[in-house]
Symmetry: C2
């Protein structure tokens, strides 16, 4: 355990308390016939998932036998669910007023396709009442607050359950199904480097570098120089220290600045490769033009770029509870929305790979490691925080497993460049993991 | 030379005469000062390509020394170019009233980026006057006429210059740069089969099967049963005969019908794979929903699909001369337009590969083989036909080389299917060519 854990976790504690409704809901008296009918209707509107409801008086709504039982502990929880089922489910779960039997990720994986079917038969007024709303694209100031809310929860917290190899908080690449999380994250870094066709001596600009693991990997194994941008102060601090520790600080520069300022400095030079892994989710479609303009400014005419992002099959806002409580300001694009970034930016799309099921696997690892440190996290934060994060990790696992979310890696080049890879065979020469490992020796 | 060549070529001759303006333009007297200024302006509006103009009186417009010289043989050619430079260039070239020094594909490869730059500085009224117009999506009846116009030119004609291995009239896959056209077309077929992850005993539906080479390859080397649709009567006849000759007619059924009727028959069954190589160009965005509906009808819930199509980096109509004279009704999509097909169809996009430069290489082979048979084709058709086709092949080479056109292969699955490939390593196990060859023995 690193020296800074306890103090760091305690410092974050107040700052990141989830804004939840008061714990005790009103009323736990006998369930009314009307309330039972309302709950039966709610289950139908949710696409009749394989579950029943156990109410505060011990009575059941739905089939007597069901795969999962959701328990509502007070009457107010019922009315909260009716008003806004998505927000209420998350908040009630986090506060402990709603409980789910069995594995939460299994339940949600079954639930999500039902909700999708349910939505298709909901009356328009109800769909409008219940629908999630997309946030506006974040200004630089809002972006700082949004990123601070999530990524500055404390490096020690993330170290408890992310991989120890490269501290990656993005989709791993399970080249072999039995890879450990560490192996899969290294394989992801290698896969990204190969897609960029990096060569020694080249320069790379990275937007949204997290704790800087990719930048250090590129510098160490590919001999490139990297400028890596991020607006999370905690992450940048950690990344710089780590680069110093690994003797890479002469080749990797971490810059605490917004992606919109990439390539605006008087001394800024064109780079051979641009890469962004897991940042686009925080950019918002309103700002895609600002991002593509930044890439145009900084990428050499013969350069190559890669954007790795969560996406969807069709446009829709992110789950409202996730957007409000976990990732403020986030939005993930459909293929059409994503391609607009490259079209408007004057790029040619060379390669798109969908790694959806790899993210479900990644999230299962994170969820299990989070569970293994549950008591420590509860002591440092609180029960509500732990339950909210369990829901977020299980819900995200379910979303990738059920196909609600996708994971796209897009390789692109300036539209008029002919310095583009002819095929992709070179991505698969030798295992991605062994390559990194071999270079490591 | 196949038995049917001469009669077949002669039968097509009248039917496919290009509709061109009368050969002799008005006036070959001395060039006026105003006309010289107009031509200098025209060159500026075309983005100042590395060329000069030699006029009918022997005088030059543009630099004295230039990489290419374009000769205008009469005054009317000048005014035709001013009215509609794109259409006029094609028609004047085909009729011999406009000539280009040096290799035509080299000239056009230099010209296209200039035109792109030129367009950006043209006044709006001029851009509106000169712009190409996208055709309406073709009805079933129009589609038959459009396809007939091009693909029923005579099988013997296409056999003169397409590959002899599989008679492929779509982008080949030059896995190795020194592949022959035959090798590259077989490698393309293998690459497509691998992307579909075909297994023996599966069923495949193909939309727009050309001369049926892919269908026969899948049946022979992958042991699948194929239903292949096409509305070109000439191609279907040839494909059926070839399947009989190869003993594959028990596994491959060629159906002369529109893609819109796929999966509508009472006895129609779900297939494991859907594939369409080089048909989408003739569908038109207005009909993408009809196509995706057909795929939804016919593809099993755990099936996989592939669409291979010419595309663009940004939306624009196809070159007007090509659309009017060569490929009536054609339109090639940008990534956004292409992705809309999959979003609206309820599919998840798994993999996109851009093979643009492979199409430039393919077209160079076709162009060279066409040239080698120039005299025979001229005897069977006429000089205008030969020159129009030279321009079409050289112009297409240039368009792929300059990045005006792209080539996308998209792999997709029903949005809720988890039976999707985890990675793409299996596409690259052994050479695509050797695999086919080895199975062939």
């Amino acid at each position: 355990m690193p020296r800074d854990t306890a103090s760091s976790l305690n410092t974050r504690r107040r700052r990141n308390a989830l804004a939840l409704p008061a714990r005790a809901g009103g009323g736990t008296g006998a369930v009314l016939a009307l309330e039972r009918r309302l709950l039966a209707w709610l289950l139908r509107m949710a696409g009749t998932p394989p579950m029943n409801l156990c109410l505060w008086d011990g009575s059941l709504v739905g089939p007597a036998q069901a795969e999962h039982t959701v328990t509502l502990r007070d009457r107010a929880a019922l009315y909260a669910l009716l008003r806004n089922p998505n927000m209420a489910f998350g908040d009630l779960y986090a506060s402990g007023r709603l409980r789910v039997s069995g594995r939460l990720d299994d339940f949600l994986t079954r639930l999500y396709p039902c909700l999708e079917r349910g939505r298709q038969s909901q009356p328009a007024w109800l769909a409008a009442l219940w629908r999630d709303r997309a946030p506006k694209g974040a200004s630089e100031q809002d972006a700082r607050l949004n990123i601070h809310h999530h990524y500055d929860l404390g490096n020690a917290f993330y170290r408890l359950w992310l991989d120890t190899a490269a501290m990656q908080y993005t989709c791993a690449y399970f080249e072999q199904p039995d890879f450990t999380l560490e192996q899969a994250q290294l394989a992801k870094l290698e896969h990204v480097c190969r897609k960029l066709r990096l060569r020694p001596g080249q320069t790379v600009v990275e937007a949204g570098c997290g704790w800087g693991g990719l930048a250090r990997y590129m510098a160490r194994y590919y001999g490139v120089r990297v400028q890596a941008f991020n607006i999370s102060g905690e992450q940048i601090t950690w990344a710089r220290e780590q680069a110093r520790r690994e003797g890479l600080d002469d080749r990797v520069t971490y810059i605490e600045d917004d992606y919109r300022n990439i390539g605006t400095g008087a001394a800024s030079q064109r780079c051979d490769a641009f890469v962004s892994v897991g940042m686009l989710e925080h950019v918002g479609p309103e700002n895609y033009q600002a991002l593509s303009a930044a890439i145009r400014r900084v990428l050499a005419p013969t350069g190559i770029g890669l954007i790795h992002t969560i996406g969807r099959n069709r446009p829709a806002p992110i789950n409202g509870w996730i957007e409000r409580r976990i990732f403020p300001g986030s939005y993930v694009p459909s293929p059409v929305e994503l391609m607009r970034l490259f079209e408007d930016g004057g790029f040619s799309v060379l390669d798109v790979e969908n790694l959806r099921l790899h993210y479900a696997d990644t999230l299962r690892h994170w969820h299990d490691r989070f569970q293994a440190h549950r008591e420590q996290i509860r002591a440092d934060y609180d029960d509500t925080f732990v339950r909210a994060w369990e829901l977020y990790l299980a819900g995200s696992t379910a979303a990738f497993q059920a196909g609600t979310l996708q994971l796209f890696q897009v390789v692109f080049a300036p539209a008029d460049s002919n310095v583009v890879p002819r095929h992709r065979r070179d991505l698969y020469v030798g295992s991605a993991l062994e390559a990194g490992g071999a270079r490591h020796e």
